[in-house]
């Protein structure tokens, strides 16, 4: 275990990774909203009104 090598990110790399993470998060959130609203737009609000 003594020769364990870890990658230490530089400040610039950490900032870039955070920037990319936020962008991916926003893109995924946008996709969820798009598919949710598109489902209602295509099928109409009746899709939410199912007999239990």
């Amino acid at each position: 275990m003594d020769d364990l090598e870890l990658v230490t990110l530089t400040e610039r790399q950490r900032k870039a990774r955070r920037n990319r993470s936020i962008a991916i998060g926003l893109a995924l959130a946008a996709l969820v909203i798009i598919f949710y609203v598109a489902t209602i737009a295509k099928f109409g609000p009746a899709i939410l009104n199912r007999p239990m």
Partner: protein, 314 residues
């Protein structure tokens, strides 16, 4: 005991990325994308069928992402060419901010995502056209034509001409003669637009080994071909009125814009071989951008007014 006992970095090429979201956005060629979005929007809105506004937004977004994806695939493949051209040397791949592998993955994932989204949420005809457009730009143009023939942008221009047809197909689920004319306008506009650029950037292209028309056939031949395309483009631009799709307002404006295109091309044709400043070529390049934007904007306005009058029962 840890699952991973040993971490060793032996790959000499291994590096932690410093690419930001902005670098990946640049891979999408946002300026080209804006023209694609605009022409797809015109095709979608001008179609005689009204589409749910939210699905319209999704259709345009999908076309934008698909166009961006083909731009990323282009930048992956063309990094060697981009590196030696002043106009493109600062792009994310040649400048080293994004690796070629990252650009390739990014392009492939976005291609699949845009086509599937358009197919599932709008219709599969428009999705098929988008998939074909991406394939045409990334494989037929970028990998094959661009380095092989001076007709590269003539044939490859089809990729940039498809968006209004995709927009039309997204709204109607079909292809019509009117949408094919919109395709033709962009298709015929592409060669004089790019050859005007190639005239005053010919050193760049020859350094990169890209067989653009001025480097292969010479500047005089390129100037003649620009003028010939302008003579064909101008009447095709007026055709939507000629076939009765628009009002005379579009017909008049399109005629004036076409006459302007022929005039600027004529100035390029008359340009002397000794003219290294190439002001006429630069002027034509600038005017060609204005022409395409204006003719589509007027066409859109004309169709919107007609839709509004029809809805109002006038």
């Amino acid at each position: 005991m840890a699952l991973v006992d040993h971490t060793r970095i032996e790959d000499a090429d291994f590096r932690m990325s410093e690419a930001t979201a902005g670098d990946f956005f640049a891979l999408l060629k946002p300026r080209v994308m804006s023209l694609v979005v605009f022409t797809a929007f015109v095709g979608l809105i001008a179609a005689p069928v009204t589409i749910n506004p939210f699905l319209a937004v999704i259709a345009i977004l999908s076309v934008a992402i698909g166009a961006g994806a083909s731009g990323a695939l282009n930048m992956w493949y063309d990094a060697d060419i981009d590196a030696v051209m002043t106009r493109t040397a600062t792009r994310p791949v040649p400048s080293g901010r994004v690796t070629p592998g990252e650009a390739l993955s990014f392009g492939l994932v976005l291609s699949a995502l845009s086509v599937i989204t358009l197919g599932v949420l709008v219709n599969w005809l428009s999705a098929s056209l988008l998939a074909f457009t991406i394939f045409f730009y990334a494989v037929i143009y970028t990998m094959w034509l661009k380095r092989w023939t001076p007709q590269n942008i003539v044939i490859g221009g089809a990729a940039g001409a498809f968006p209004p047809m995709i927009g039309w197909a997204a709204a109607t689920g079909s292809i019509s003669l009117e949408s094919v004319i919109l395709f033709l306008i962009i298709f015929l506009w592409t060669p004089p637009h790019f050859w005007a650029l190639a005239l005053f950037k010919s050193d760049d292209y020859s350094r990169a080994g890209v067989p653009m028309m001025p480097n292969v056939a010479g500047e005089a031949s390129t100037r003649r071909q620009i003028f010939a395309y302008a003579l064909v483009l101008a009447p095709i631009g007026v055709l939507p009125w000629g076939l009765g799709y628009t009002t005379a307002v579009y017909g008049i404006v399109a005629s004036l814009l076409g006459a302007g295109f022929v005039w600027y091309s004529w100035k390029v044709l008359r340009m002397s071989d000794a003219d290294r400043a190439m002001k006429p070529a630069k002027a034509l390049f600038g005017y060609s951008l204005l022409y395409l934007f204006a003719i589509f904007a007027v066409y859109l306005g004309d169709r919107l007014v007609e839709h509004a009058l029809n809805l109002g029962g006038v």
